[in-house]
Amino acid sequence: MIAFSAVSILLIITIFIFGEGMPVMVKYGLRKFLFGLDWFPLERSYGLLPMIIGSLMVTGGALVIGVPFGLACAVVLTEFSSKRLRRFLKPIIELLAGIPSVVYGFIGVVILIPFIRDHLGGPGFSVLASSVILGIMILPTIISISIDSLEAVPRTYREGSIALGATRWQTTRMVMFPAAKSGIIASIILGMGRAIGETMAVIMVAGNAATIPRSLLDPVRTLTSNIALELGYAAGEHRQALFATGVILFVIIMILNTIANMTSRKRRP
């Protein structure tokens, strides 16, 4: 019953979002929504391309920052440090995931924005700032799942490789990584899902201009921010257009989740 109610809630949400969002999409045409450059809701112009590109840029940036850091961290903790240190550090890293996103955003505004403004130029509120904050936010997901999948590699693989005269680093790169590949990919995709869905922290540091950013230092608006910023005062068609934004976001996240499920299911190489 309870399990079923969770499914039915998902179903109701889906029907609701699509029900609210579809009519306006049909009315103006999907192409206009996906590829329109101008978002002027008061003039009935609902182009979401700047936000779609914004979401993808910010998410991509978050991965560029979060993935190398996260994987390096996971490798150091599993291959090059003692079990005791790992037992101590892993829960602390996981605690990072529990910090409210407003706090991340706040830290971004207070520390990161002035830093970027003073040292790199631009207004500070930018793609770069959002990417850095999101990159930090997805670290716990990537680290913790990667550690789990590296630890799940049979001990014999590591021993076999080391007995062949491979160094620890060679063993990690040539044996452990390929063997843990599916788990690591799943961790990256889950981190990506988190980054693309994050709203609050991004609103606080992104600048939120509904234009396609020309550089990493320009302000950007994501799909999620678009909804959160305008829903409070939107009415009528404008409101429906925001639901349409939700539909597109929904589809993107569904695609990512499906990929994540597929890669983590085929465990055997």
Partner: protein, 252 residues
């Protein structure tokens, strides 16, 4: 009598507080097949893993006394562990091919050691597979996954993988414990052929296997060496009662 290439003098080994090897004294000579028999937990695998310092991976492992390979104290300063492990190739009880192709499995160690060039690797892989009599069976599917091979083939692949490193020693830790009699026979045959080029140390819990292939045999019990002698002597007229009991199957 040929020279001793492994020499243990008062060698002791501990995992934390637990002593796993007590005052081991023995010599292994060049180009012999040296069998090590003994019941489970007698320290035979630990001794093997001490030789290529694989015990180092376990936290709390430490040693006392000396263990020399070709005159060099391997626990002394200045020993390159990586190089040591290349010189003493090891085959494990359960075949553990890496989750890669047959070719990559054999080429793995050589690649790690810095062998480059497709032609040289091809030759090395073919050569190693021929020596283990695996070449005819897999030559047309070198690129398929090594995990698809049968257990016996996998174990011979692991042996080939060692040979590609051009080691001086081949150490086998109960290599046939999971194999059927025919695969076992093939491995034993291969070992006899390899004897001219390598010094072979064979740990086995199958006493008959030691009787079949080993030149000399050591009997380990509770971390101690009870007896080392020519294999015929061990199996026909052991000087220690415990050895006699063990090979007659009274315990272990």
């Amino acid at each position: 009598m040929s020279e001793a290439v492994v020499r243990a003098e008062n060698f002791r080994h501990f995992f934390g507080e637990r002593q796993t090897l007590r005052r081991i004294n023995l010599e292994i000579r060049r180009n012999e097949i040296f069998g090590i028999i003994g019941p489970a937990g007698s320290g035979k695998s630990t001794f093997l893993r001490a030789l290529n310092r694989l015990n180092d991976l376990v936290p709390g492992s430490r040693t006392e006394g000396t263990l020399e390979v070709c005159g060099q104290d391997i626990y002394g300063p200045g020993t390159s562990v990586v190089e040591l492990r290349r010189r003493l190739g090891m085959v494990f009880a359960t075949p553990i091919p890496l989750p890669r192709s047959i070719f990559e499995n054999v080429a793995f160690g050589a690649r790690m050691a810095g062998v480059k060039g497709r032609a040289r690797l091809n030759e090395l892989v073919a050569d190693s597979l021929r020596k283990t009599a695996l070449w005819e069976e897999v030559m047309d599917r070198l690129d398929s996954s090594a995990l698809k091979l049968s257990g016996g083939q996998q174990q011979r692949l692991c042996l080939a993988r060692i040979l590609a490193l051009k080691p001086e020693f081949i150490m086998l830790d109960e290599p046939t414990s999971g194999l059927d009699p025919i695969s076992t026979m093939k491995i034993e045959e291969t070992l006899r052929q390899l004897q001219s080029e390598f010094t072979i140390i064979l740990v086995t819990n199958n006493t008959k296997q030691a009787a079949r292939v080993a030149d000399r045999t050591a009997f380990f019990l509770n971390g101690e060496i009870v007896e080392v002698d020519r294999t015929e002597k061990i199996f026909s007229a052991p000087s220690d009662q415990r050895t006699n009991d063990y090979i007659l199957g009274k315990f272990g």
